[in-house]
């Protein structure tokens, strides 16, 4: 069988070009992060990593991700179920709403939250009377991260569930399955990998979010500084190695994310082939 672009010359040229461009455009920046982190050897790297503020930044970043991911996971599943399994007025509008975080620049997102929950905002002034501080503390940073990352799970699920249709679920209901059993036994196995992929994306973005979090952080060292903010702070402290140490940590998380995703995809493909 012959396919377009199968001529050995075309093939070689295109693969080489793609590899070259990717190397220049993606691999070199990635490599340079690690190069700069280890520029002065292993000792400064470890020293920077064990810095108290860096450790606290890691903890805060993990906390934000740990709260954000489950919240958006639950929301994403409900939303996807709603818009793919039912037809009701306003469905298209709801789907556009979920795209708002993609349309709003993260800085604007942070600003909106600040204007609402800050001391001068109408909700914020009520909260501050009740002595509740959301902004410039970790709850506010969690809130904006939830905002910024909420479309990822839903966006992964909706096209898939749409394509799958609801015939299986309807059959199960006719057989008398209840809501939870239906979801767990029929739907979940079909969307599992898309769900995991959505979680991975949400997690990566929650760890790496910069613009929105910076707006509501107040950058109190050791308290409200996340890892990406720590990168910038150290960078401005004449501590390039320190900055790139934190950056390397974030890049390492990114690489792990990519590997996990790659393994998952490979897994899905294999399953796909087996079932086909």
């Amino acid at each position: 069988m012959r396919r377009i672009g199968d001529a050995p010359a075309t093939r070689a040229i295109l693969i080489t070009l793609a590899t070259l461009l990717t190397t220049l455009f993606l691999v070199v920046p990635l490599a340079s992060i690690f190069y700069q982190a280890f520029a002065e050897g292993l000792a400064p790297f470890w020293h920077n990593l064990s810095d108290q503020y860096t450790r606290q930044a890691i903890m805060l970043t993990l906390l934000i991700a740990l709260v954000t991911v489950p919240v958006n996971l639950v929301f994403g599943v409900f939303l996807a179920w709603l818009v793919t399994r039912f037809s009701f007025p306003g469905r298209r509008l709801l789907q556009t709403f979920i795209d708002i975080p993609f349309a709003v620049s993260p800085v604007v997102a942070g600003l909106l939250y600040l204007l609402l929950y800050g001391r001068t905002g109408w909700l914020g002034s009520l909260l501050s009377e009740a002595d509740v501080q959301l902004m410039f503390a970790w709850p506010g940073m969690v809130l904006v991260t939830i905002f910024v990352t909420c479309p990822f799970v839903a966006r992964e699920l909706i096209p898939l569930m749409q394509a799958q249709g609801s015939a299986d679920e309807e059959a199960a209901v006719t057989l008398g399955a209840g809501g939870w059993t239906l979801f767990r036994r029929v739907t979940l196995p079909k969307i599992r990998w898309a769900l995991v992929y959505g979680v991975i994306l949400t997690n990566a973005r929650a760890i790496g979010e910069y613009g929105a979090v910076a707006m509501v952080s107040g950058t109190i060292r050791g308290e409200t500084v996340t890892l990406p903010l720590q990168v910038e702070l150290l960078y401005q402290d004449y501590n390039t190695v320190g900055a790139f140490t934190s950056a390397a940590l974030l890049a390492a998380i990114a690489v792990v994310t990519l590997v996990v995703k790659g393994v998952l995809e490979w897994h899905t493909q294999r399953r796909g082939k087996r079932h086909a």
Partner: protein, 277 residues
């Protein structure tokens, strides 16, 4: 409307509406609140300041360049990844998602380090008079980097799903490779290419974290809209900032809406309109 056989409508509607109102819509009220304080003429003046107009131009130009680059780069990579088997393919494939996984601020600092006059890549280009960091090219570079995955990831699945017989038919008729690609493959992937490019463009318009480290921030030359917004805040002018934010939001939302509608049409065409997409 069909009968609701499936359970969970009320529950999922309730959860979704609660979440959408609290997380997404409530903060929007503060934007409206700020804008309500402006008269139409004040609003118009706030969004048509000459320096701001220049920053629209810079942002649009850089975002267009970035998404055009991504269209070509993405098409090439999607083709190579979908059509060929070669060693290292899995790594190349995984790398495509790197810009989404890497925090934008890290990307910005790294790109500025690499592409400035004394950086590893910048030093190679400097003798030829090519300056990337601190010029609008740098802005375009940062935007392109952060939105790489959009085109690749929308085109790749479409290419993978194309049946082999499409190619064969064209080639047995004696068409050249290029002609066959243009006449047979391109019509199939065009919607995906346009969707991906559109998403990449929308993302680029709002990009701040990566851009701010590599933009020269020169008035009328390398100031992006996000920076103008930050400047308004610096002047304690929340209404002015909100006005700029509203313009950016409107453009991006319209773009996304257009993409959604286009996708819907495309989807219906592919699947015969069986589901109200």
């Amino acid at each position: 409307m069909r009968a609701r056989v499936l359970p969970g409508f009320t529950l999922s509607l309730g959860v979704t509406l609660l979440f959408v109102s609290l997380i997404l819509l409530l903060p929007m009220t503060s934007l409206v609140g700020q804008l309500a304080g402006l008269s139409w003429s004040q609003y118009w003046a706030a969004i048509t300041d000459p320096r701001l107009l220049a920053s629209y131009r810079v942002t649009l130009l850089a975002a267009a360049t970035a998404s055009l680059f991504n269209a070509l780069f993405g098409l090439l990579l999607a083709w190579v990844l979908a059509r060929y088997a070669f060693p290292g393919k899995r790594v190349l494939d995984a790398l495509m998602d790197l810009p989404f996984a890497l925090p934008t601020a890290v990307a910005g600092i790294t790109l500025a380090t690499l592409y400035s006059r004394n950086g590893a890549i910048g030093a190679l280009l400097a003798p030829y008079g090519i300056e990337i960091a601190y010029s609008w090219l740098g802005i375009a570079l940062a935007m392109a980097f952060t939105s790489v995955p959009f085109v690749v990831r929308t085109v790749q699945p479409v290419l993978e799903d194309l049946p082999t017989r499409t190619d064969e038919a064209a080639l047995t008729l004696g068409a050249s490779n290029f002609y066959a690609f243009r006449r047979v493959i391109w019509p199939h992937i065009r919607p995906a290419v346009i969707t991906g490019t559109g998403l990449s463009f929308a993302r680029s318009l709002g990009e701040f974290g990566a851009v701010i480290f590599i933009a020269g921030n020169m008035p009328y030359e390398t100031e992006v809209v996000s920076l103008m917004l930050a400047t308004r805040l610096e002047e304690y002018d929340y209404a002015g900032a909100a006005a700029i934010a509203s313009v950016v939001m409107l453009v991006s939302l319209l773009l996304l809406l257009a993409i959604n509608l286009w996708q819907g049409r495309f989807y219906r065409r592919l699947h015969g309109g069986s589901f109200p997409g």
